[in-house]
Amino acid sequence: MTNNHDRSIAFVRTEDVPAAPPPPNAAGPTKWLKDNLFATIPNSILTIVALLVIYLILQGTLPWLLNGVWVSPSLSVCRDILDGATGACFAVLTERWNQLLFGFQYPADLYWRPGLAFILLFFAAAPVLFFDLPRKLLIFTALYPFIAFYLIWGGSILTPIVALVGVVAGAAVYQRYVKGSFALGFFAGIVAALIVWNLGGLIIPDEEITEGAMRSVASRDLGGFMLNMMLGVTCVSLSVPLGIALALGRQSSMPLIKYICVIFIEFIRGVPLITLLFVASVMLSYFFPPEATVDLFLRVVIMITMFSAAYIAEVIRGGLAALPKGQYEAGDSLGLDYAQSMRLIILPQALKISIPGIVNVAVGLFKDTTLVSVISMFDLVGMIRGPILASTDWQGIYWELFGFAALLFFVVCYGISQYSQWLERRLATDHR
């Protein structure tokens, strides 16, 4: 039967017909264009408008960018070189890069010091930012503030060493007593650190070191982008612990502490940073004892730290609120006291949730450090608006400088926000 059947059919295809290529407008770039740019008529109009916008922007900026002059001692010479053609005078950047980055008073032969501190910052920050790295690297992170202080300000090496010894002593005492009670360990640690600092203060020489590679640099000689970086890094790192304390205080069951924290947070968040900087520049010195004044840099650090602590406190409060109530109850049922359950159970989880928010606050704060230019500090923007624009050589230049400033901030902030997004994705998978 089968034979008959076989014979009755003239041809049997034993393999598939190769798929015909799709019609030209349903594959490849054409399809992509059709789907993504010209799907509907309104969509096509949008595409054309967008192309027009891109064209206009490029037409305006490209000749200016590409035809830039990179070597010239002053704006007038640069204009002569350009001879009427459109072009940027990037020479201001090559001439004044040191002022833009380090301010105009930082000794030029010492630029390697903040430079080194900047490079070390990456090593110090890496173990905090990336959890996969060996935890032992955190030791370097803990040492970094002292190294950076010594590198940037110079002076006697005893200053950071005594400060470090004080911190180590405080930590040791804390470890010794924390098993009894957190509060006891905490306060004993602070007392121990204070004692060491007081005694150590005696061995620090009074004279400033004015010669050599590690000579001291006054804080008012700091400036440029370095000042923005320093303010940003210092204030964010100081404000995280303060923010945690404020957030816990705001959740506290003790009404007095709760209201102090609420009033502080709401007050700081309610006023613009610039008014706080006015406080730092024109009011704060009235609140210090008459026989001592505190330098503008420290006053600004105090105010910006308070400012960002209030915002970070709100972020952390969000993190605390997001934890299921069961976590708190779990801590209680294990018989942990408040400090233990916060330290061991609540905060590690709450902080993990809050990290993206804290990073956002940090980016915002870093951008806001430019406001110090309004109170006559020479940060990057202050350098541009002050000494560089006022100098006879470069008076009248504008876009090149602000474009450079915008680029620097963009690189840093975009980098941090990309990190934040990466972290958010990672944390999101961890939770599943």
Binding site: S76, E95, R96, Q99, G103, F104, Q105, Y106, A108, F149, W153, G155, S156, T159, V162, A163, G166, L194, V196, W197, N198, G200, G201, L202, I204, D206, E208, S216, A218, S219, R220, F278, S281, V282, M283, S285, Y286, P290, E291, A292, T293, V294, D295, L296, F297, L298, I375, S376, F378, R385, G386, P387, L389, A390, S391, T392, D393, Q395, G396, Y398
Partner: protein, 339 residues
């Protein structure tokens, strides 16, 4: 000496400086340097050069005071101040001396409790307009847009001037001199008004200075001088008499070139001798070395030299002495006698 490492660190970093309102001089001596408040940058008066070294007419006064106290004109920390921060910086002791072309007014002297130690530049508020506008008098400026540098007495003078002449204007307040120039050159305002010296300096820095004219009206008196805290009399005396020493030196022909020679031994002119400390005890009365004035003059030259070097006719600023000539030349610069 019991200080914590924190304050030790802070002090080493120059973050904290001690101050006492009554004994500024002691504090300055202990600190080893003078804190002098200057502008954030006005070419000719006080501005940092490309290497970050401050130069200018006001800076010269600061250096002279430092030289009088320490014998070292570089023992000065320059603190840039804005119109907003200058008075609080001085009042709070962050700076010892404010030499920031500040106008001597009644309310600043009396209400804000400062002491002006003298006048180092007699100025007045003027107007600059582009030549093409064809304006020849400030009274023709009805309806004009005027750029003003904010935070100075010029805002008040301007309002008074236009009000008394019953003409209208539109003020454009601008933070810094550099930005004001930019606005003016871009045509965002018709007129730029500030102290006449500043206008001259600004015009000199333009690409085509001839396209701009200064109007003849000077609408205010602006005696600019250094100031100290009220009640800070010992230090105030030093600042006052350092300035007077510079002025007297010019009057008596003592220059940075011949001051060493004249100060080496007592000469014929008793006033020069008293000034340079080869006769009498003027230095000791101030609590300074006998050669204090010699050091101050050697720092940057006498008043005339400072003027010529920083803002005089041979500099880009190109200011004539005018009111700021010695009284013997028909100007207002006049120092009480050293006696």
């Amino acid at each position: 000496m019991n200080k914590t490492v924190f304050f030790g660190a802070v002090a080493v970093a120059g973050l904290a400086a001690s101050m006492g309102s009554a004994a500024t001089l002691d504090d300055i001596k202990e600190r080893g340097s003078l804190n002098c408040g200057v502008t954030t940058g006005l070419v000719g008066f006080a501005s940092p050069d490309a290497n970050g070294v401050w130069t200018g007419f006001d800076v010269g006064v600061c250096r002279a005071v430092a030289a009088a106290i320490f014998g070292d004109p570089t023992a000065v920390e320059f603190v840039p101040t804005t119109g907003k921060t200058r008075f609080t910086s001085l009042a709070s002791g962050e700076i010892d001396l404010l030499a920031r072309n500040t106008t001597w007014t009644f309310s600043r002297d009396v209400d804000l409790k400062f002491d002006f130690v003298g006048v180092n530049y007699y100025d007045g508020q003027g107007f600059m307009v582009p030549k093409e506008l064809g304006v020849s008098s400030a009274k023709d400026l009805d309806g004009a847009t005027v750029c003003i540098q904010t935070g100075t007495t010029t805002e008040l003078n301007l309002a008074d001037f236009f009000r008394t002449n019953n003409i209208s204007y539109e003020p454009v307040p601008i933070e810094t001199n550099a930005e004001a120039q930019q606005q003016y050159l871009a045509g965002a305002c018709d007129v730029y008004t500030t102290d006449a010296s500043g206008l001259a300096a600004t015009r000199a820095s333009f690409e085509n200075p001839a396209d701009h004219v200064l109007l003849p009206e000077i609408i205010s008196k602006e005696p600019l001088g250094p100031l100290v805290r009220h009640g800070d009399n010992d230090f105030g005396d030093i600042a006052r008499w350092t300035l007077n020493a510079l002025i007297t030196a010019e009057e008596l022909g003592v220059t940075s070139a011949n001051v060493e020679e004249l100060g080496a031994a007592a000469g014929n002119n008793p006033e020069i001798n008293r000034l340079l400390g080869t006769e009498g005890e003027l230095g000791a009365m101030l609590g300074l070395e006998a050669d204090w004035a010699k050091n101050a003059i050697a720092a940057g030259g006498n008043y005339g030299e400072l003027f010529e070097k920083n803002i005089g006719e041979n500099t880009p600023i190109g200011l004539a002495r005018g009111l700021n000539a010695q009284w013997t030349d028909g100007g207002l610069i006049y120092s009480p006698p050293f006696r």
